[in-house]
Amino acid sequence: MSESPSRLETQQLGDIGLVDLLDRVLDAGVVISGDIILSLADVDLVYLNLRLLLGSVDTLFPPADSS
């Protein structure tokens, strides 16, 4: 929500937004139990792979002392 993000910052925030979307779709929300089909184990593996692919805050925003 910065007022005038640079192109790079916009790209980084876009990546963060994608991470946050995956965090929600795959790691939050109603989880139903009982006599109901759950395919979460496979989804969790995909989620981990996606997180690794997308990277973290450290890769999106390198520390000041490493630049």
């Binding site: 929500m1 910065s2 007022e3 925030l13 963060i16 937004g17 946050d20 979307l21 995956l22 965090d23 929600r24 779709v25 795959l26 790691d27 939050a28 929300g29 109603v30 989880v31 139903i32 009982g34 006599d35 109901i36 089909i37 759950l38 395919s39 979460l40 496979d42 989804v43 995909v46 989620y47 973290s56 805050v57 450290d58 925003f61 520390p63 000041a64 002392d65």
Partner: protein, 243 residues
């Protein structure tokens, strides 16, 4: 099988939606509550397209109704199981809690990698001779001073986020930081009319904390992290959030 996108109100309008694999989204009601679902021969694979379509359907529903988003990968075998799901007690109250609310994600990120407050074993090993020992002690003192100062700055930043941003929220859920540089990561439940004011508050706090800290805010999202009161952790007391 039946894929579930969200639990929602029975009443209320919503546009015709196409879900995963272009299957039509049905809103199956039981009393005052309903489930937004689509039918599939097998559980949908978690492809990028399917994940995005799930998110888009939830988002579209959220524009018109209170929703409790379902986590992707959750489905039921038949309509009877949907009805059982909708019969669970307290569902209407959970929908009322998130009605006219959105979720925003807030990260407070430090520009520097935190310095350990306690010197490591390598750092306190016996100096080999007097000259290098003095230098070593000076370095340790400087490092301790820098660490104390940084810790105070980090705590002040965390307190600013809590007092000026989280105080505007109806609910706060702490999220995994994912990095040592993320001092605080939360999902906040905001009343819709407060979103603009919240955005201004984020801009103000971010400007004051820069350049030592960055405030990253994404959203508004459907309330994925506020679907279940019982699992919602309470916000930590003031002054305990800094790492």
């Amino acid at each position: 099988m039946i894929h579930i996108y969200a639990l929602t109100d029975a009443a209320g309008s919503s546009p015709a939606l196409l879900g995963i694999d272009d299957s039509p989204v049905e809103v199956r009601a039981a009393g005052a509550v309903a489930a937004a679902v689509s039918r599939h021969d097998a559980a949908p694979e978690p492809t990028a397209e399917a994940l995005l379509r799930h998110a888009v359907v939830v988002e579209a529903l959220h524009q018109h109704r209170a929703v409790l988003p379902a986590r992707f990968g959750t489905g039921v075998p038949d309509e009877g199981a949907v009805d059982d799901l909708l019969a669970q007690p307290g569902l209407s109250a959970r929908l009322d809690r998130v009605r006219d609310h959105v979720e925003v994600d807030v990260r407070l990120v430090s520009a520097e990698t935190p310095v350990p407050a306690v010197p490591s074993a390598d750092a306190i090993q016996e100096p080999r001779h007097e000259h290098s020992g003095r230098e070593h002690l000076r370095a340790l003192a400087a490092r301790a001073a820098a660490s104390g100062s940084s810790e105070g700055t980090r705590q002040a930043a965390v307190d600013a986020v809590r007092m000026r941003l989280e105080s505007l929220a109806s609910g706060v859920v702490e999220r995994p930081p994912g990095s040592a540089r993320v001092l605080r990561h939360t999902a906040l439940l905001l009343n819709r009319p407060l979103v603009d004011a919240f955005g201004r508050a984020v801009a103000e706090v971010a400007a004051e904390l820069a350049p030592a800290h960055t405030v990253l805010c994404t959203g508004p999202w459907p309330p994925y992290n506020f679907v279940d009161d019982a699992k919602r952790p309470a916000a930590a007391p003031m002054g305990e959030g800094a790492r």
